[in-house]
């Protein structure tokens, strides 16, 4: 049993709903009690969808449990098929139905329909949303393509040459309730088409079962979001020999590498290599002198695996930040995030507990937080600027304007989205510097509001309560005075470092000089 106040991911059947709702001509019969229908609002309110998710909930009640819930399942399946006439039917259960073991998938298969039926078994007590989405997309792909496995020869990535046409690829992974997927797809298609590569199918977003059956008309697969599409890509590779890309095109370096990877796989000559770096404003904006102040900014990153790893690379290599924390809630991608963290001399934070993330943020004393909507709220409390880089989705993460994360335009969006909160952060610093000037109106607030002031108090009040730290170190008047002069966003770090230094040197009292000694020691 795990105490959860808030969770980054929903249950696995919500993942299945993401796939069903992303697609056309599909219906999902979900054996579930009333109340589970709440999931519809994720799509109709957060994504502002004008259609209901294609889901029928059996909504069994306590009084049904003594009777025949299996009959109820069959009745709902029959009605759903007659009403919605799907080309493929998904059948599954939510957490409660899993316990009563009606096996709705097996029931559906026994009802004599001639459309393909996908029996979804998504263990609700051990798995989560992204896993559910990945498994659903995989089972769907497998069901619709398994007949063609034995008859097909392995697909060579060079087949396009024999066929005398432009190379074709599939873009796999984008789904509803995925971070900026709608726009990423447009951006990636644009990039591929500029390189002379055609998109065969985009799935699950906007695809129909017929489109899934056509996946094998392409030469290779673009795995755009590992969380959703890797299992399917791997199955297509094993059974049809279709290779798939591993690079996620977020950031300039990754986008260039992605284009290289696609060209290498297809054996397509890359003729516009020189042009590529100029397609986004990020490299120049980052190099321009105005961006000098970005150097070494301390940034804390937390999100899904795909976006957290990409953010770390952009932060360090393309913006010149210092990554001081990296973590993910995607357990399925923990290994990769750990590896990325290790390269940055960090230990990755793998957790589904937002309070742990908030604690880690406090300890790391970053100047910028790149996180989910939850970290945005925590950051607000800590008075630290924040930009949102990952799901879980919020209505703000579905902007009206074109706003991808991937490709050239994605890099532009990222530059603006990450740097603008920092401009404000700089303003905050100026306020801190000039607050003693007579022109300065007391109570001047930047967009961060009162919380920034509270952060000062946070450090100071901690002092008051805990004047003598555990190791018996005392802050003298001069030491405390000097500490308050340190910009608020690094004050916590300076305090910890100075104490660490004092312990190391056996200094019992911290004066202003100790502060400078420690500063010199650690720099």
């Amino acid at each position: 049993m795990e105490l959860t106040l808030w969770t980054y991911e929903g249950p696995p059947h919500v993942g299945a709903m993401r796939i069903a709702s992303s697609m056309k001509d599909i219906h999902y019969v979900l054996h579930a009690p009333q109340g589970d229908t709440y999931a519809d609002l994720l799509f109709t309110m957060i994504e502002r969808r004008g259609q209901r998710p294609p889901v029928t909930y059996t909504t069994f009640q306590a009084r049904d449990l003594g009777g025949d819930t299996a009959e109820l399942v069959k009745k709902n399946i029959k009605e759903a098929v007659e009403r919605f006439k799907p080309k493929t039917l998904l059948v599954g259960e939510s957490c409660t139905a899993e316990l009563i073991q009606d096996q709705p998938g097996a029931l559906a298969k026994g009802m004599g329909f001639d459309m393909p039926i996908v029996n979804l078994e998504l263990p609700a007590y051990s798995k989560k949303e992204n896993w559910g989405a990945s498994e659903t997309f995989y089972q769907l792909t497998r069901t619709l393509l398994k007949e063609k496995v034995s008859s097909s020869e392995k697909i060579s990535p060079l087949r396009w040459k024999e066929l005398g046409r432009r190379p074709k690829v599939n873009i796999l992974g984008p789904s509803l309730l995925g971070f900026r997927c709608r726009d990423d797809v447009i951006e990636i298609q644009r990039i591929l088409s500029e390189q002379g590569i055609d998109t065969n199918v985009v799935a699950p977003l906007g695809a129909s079962p017929d489109d899934i059956k056509r996946l094998i008309d392409a030469e290779i697969n673009i795995c755009l979001y590992q969380e959703i599409a890797e299992a399917s890509c791997e199955w297509l590779r094993r059974n049809f020999g279709m290779e798939y890309t591993k690079t996620i095109p977020i950031g300039i370096k990754n986008t260039v590498e992605f284009i290289n990877e696609v060209h290498n796989k297809l054996d397509l000559p890359l003729t516009n290599k020189e042009e590529l770096e100029h397609k986004s404003k990020l490299p120049w904006y980052s190099k321009s002198v105005d961006s000098n102040y970005l150097t070494g900014k301390r940034v804390f990153i937390f999100g899904d695996g795909t976006h957290a790893i990409a953010a770390a690379k952009i932060a360090k290599e393309e913006l010149g930040f210092e990554v001081v924390g990296l973590g993910t809630y995607s357990r399925e991608m923990a290994r990769q995030v750990r590896a990325t963290a290790k390269e940055l001399n960090l230990e990755a934070l793998i957790t589904n507990n937002y309070l742990e993330v908030e604690d880690a943020m406090k300890k790391a004393a970053p100047e910028l937080i790149l996180g989910t909507q939850m970290e945005r709220h925590s950051a607000k409390r800590l008075g630290i600027p924040c930009s949102v880089i990952s799901t879980p989705m919020h209505v703000q993460d579905v902007p009206a304007r074109y706003s991808p994360q991937m490709g050239w335009e994605g890099a532009n969006v990222i530059f603006d989205d990450w740097v603008h909160p920092l401009m404000m952060g700089l303003e905050e610093h100026l306020i801190d510097m000039f607050k003693h000037d007579f022109e300065f109106v007391d109570g001047h607030q930047s967009h961060l509001g009162h919380t920034a002031t509270k952060t000062e108090n946070f450090v100071n009040s901690e002092d008051k309560e805990d004047k003598n730290s555990k190791e018996g170190i005392i802050w003298t008047e001069s030491g405390r005075a000097e500490l308050t002069k340190v910009p608020f966003f690094v004050r916590g770090k300076v305090k910890t470092n100075t104490e660490k230094y004092a312990i190391l040197r056996g200094i019992p009292e911290i004066s202003d000089e100790t502060l400078y000694d420690a500063k010199a020691y650690f720099s």
């Binding site: 105490l3 709902n76 007590y125 709220h377």
Partner: protein
């Protein structure tokens, strides 16, 4: 009883479960914590309905069942014990802890009553534990509050003191207004249930006169009756008519003359009627379809027809307690079509066929209906907004006139100039 037409329907439903009521219950009692014993779905449901992120640490959470908890119930009880201990250590300010049953905990027959009993002994004098079920297999949306209140009744001490007890969660400002009016009437001993502090439960007994503020408290009413309380039969205090009749019923129960009541509330009625006018102008003659969800549908239909002159196409309700709703149903126009239960697909067919001007529905359905060109009002807003009482009648009407007004603005011809 007016000649309304009762219909029943079964099939797939599109409603919240009782867990959702935690969203307003925890605000009402800031010293209580609601611990759902359930699945990740339960946790996700509550956070999706409540916008949990705005809280540093919310006063509700879910003990999420994992595979090993399903294997052996003994272990599940131990695990729950551990979770509760951790929680109380972290949140020492909690005075009452509600253990809230869910669909999975009910199906595996996790005995929360026994767990609560044990915990009560261990934390005696520090935290009180009560349990109820908010599961979707037993409760719909607002029924969760019924369960929570019913669970508190055994903790209420007995007293034969004469008092007026307002039962059902009200917005604090509305509650204050009501109490002021009752005091002016000469009823001095007024209490509310649930109280603002979970530990300050009212005492009840044979001289307790219960006046319901919400129409979804069937079980609570039954148990209050068992404790000797007198239930004052009245419509619910929504709109001027409902509120007036509600006050009147209370006055009668306390032998206060109708004349005195009118003296006090007439000025309120007059100004409220004035405030209602502009909304009535928009709502008048418009056709309304209410889908079942909050259980307030019948009272809302009565208000919107009788006071705002809307035409009622269909009034859905998740379930119907004819006894509790008697006074409301009497006020409905003849031939009102009430549909108890739901077959969401068939009901939506009827919505489309009847071409309504406004549909009251859940959040899952609102945008899809809007996309079809049908104006909507989400029902969840009714349980978060102060809508009770004479003074709030115009605000209540405003919840329904606003979408129509907006629709008018956005589709008005003056916009189409470029």
């Amino acid at each position: 009883m007016s000649k309304v037409k009762f219909n029943k329907e079964t099939g797939p439903r599109e409603v919240f479960c009782g867990l959702t009521s935690i969203v307003w219950l925890h605000r009402r009692m800031p010293d209580a914590f609601f611990l759902v014993v359930g699945s990740r779905t339960c946790a996700h449901l509550i956070q999706s309905a409540a916008g949990v992120m705005i809280f540093a640490e919310p006063r509700f959470g879910t003990a999420i069942l994992e595979e090993k908890d399903l294997a052996g119930l003994a272990d599940a009880h131990e695990e729950l014990d551990r979770v509760v201990n951790d929680l109380i250590a972290r949140r020492p300010e909690i005075k009452t802890l509600f253990l809230v049953g869910s669909c999975p905990s009910e199906v595996i027959k996790l005995d929360l009553a026994t767990v609560a009993e044990k915990l009560n002994k261990r934390f005696i004098g520090q935290v009180r534990f009560v349990n109820y079920s908010g599961s979707g297999i037993e409760t719909t949306f607002t029924q969760g509050e019924d369960g929570a209140l019913k669970a508190l009744i055994p903790l209420m001490e007995s007293s034969n003191e004469e008092k007026l007890l307002l039962v059902g969660t009200l917005a604090n400002n509305v509650e204050d207004r009501f109490k002021k009016i009752f005091r002016n009437l000469g009823i001095s001993n007024i209490e509310s249930f649930p109280p603002r502090q979970s530990t300050e439960l009212p005492k009840i007994g044979k001289n307790t006169k219960v006046l319901l503020t919400q129409p979804y408290l069937s079980d609570t009413v039954r148990d209050l009756k068992h404790r000797g309380c007198e239930i004052i039969s009245a419509p619910f205090p929504l709109g001027i008519e409902g509120s007036t009749k509600w006050f009147l019923a209370a006055a009668k129960a306390f032998n206060i003359s109708e004349l005195k009541l009118h003296e006090i509330i007439s000025p309120l009625i007059n100004r409220s009627k004035l405030a209602l006018e502009s909304h009535k102008e928009i709502l008048k003659g418009k056709r309304l379809f209410l889908l079942p969800e909050s259980q307030l549908e019948i009272s809302l239909a009565r208000f919107l027809h009788n006071e705002c002159e809307m035409d009622l196409i269909e009034v859905g309700t998740p379930y119907l307690n004819k006894d509790l709703m008697k006074e409301e149903i009497n006020l409905l126009p003849d031939n009102t079509k009430i549909v108890e239960g739901q077959h969401v697909e068939k009901q939506l067919d009827r919505v489309r066929e009847s071409n309504p001007d406004l549909v009251v529905c859940g959040m899952g359905l609102a945008n899809p209906l809007e996309a079809e060109g049908i104006s909507t009002k989400w029902s969840i807003e009714m349980v978060f907004s102060p809508i009770h009482g004479i003074d709030q009648a115009a605000d209540l009407a405003g919840l329904f006139s606003k979408p129509l007004k907006r629709n008018q603005i956005l589709t008005s011809k003056t916009l189409v100039t470029h």
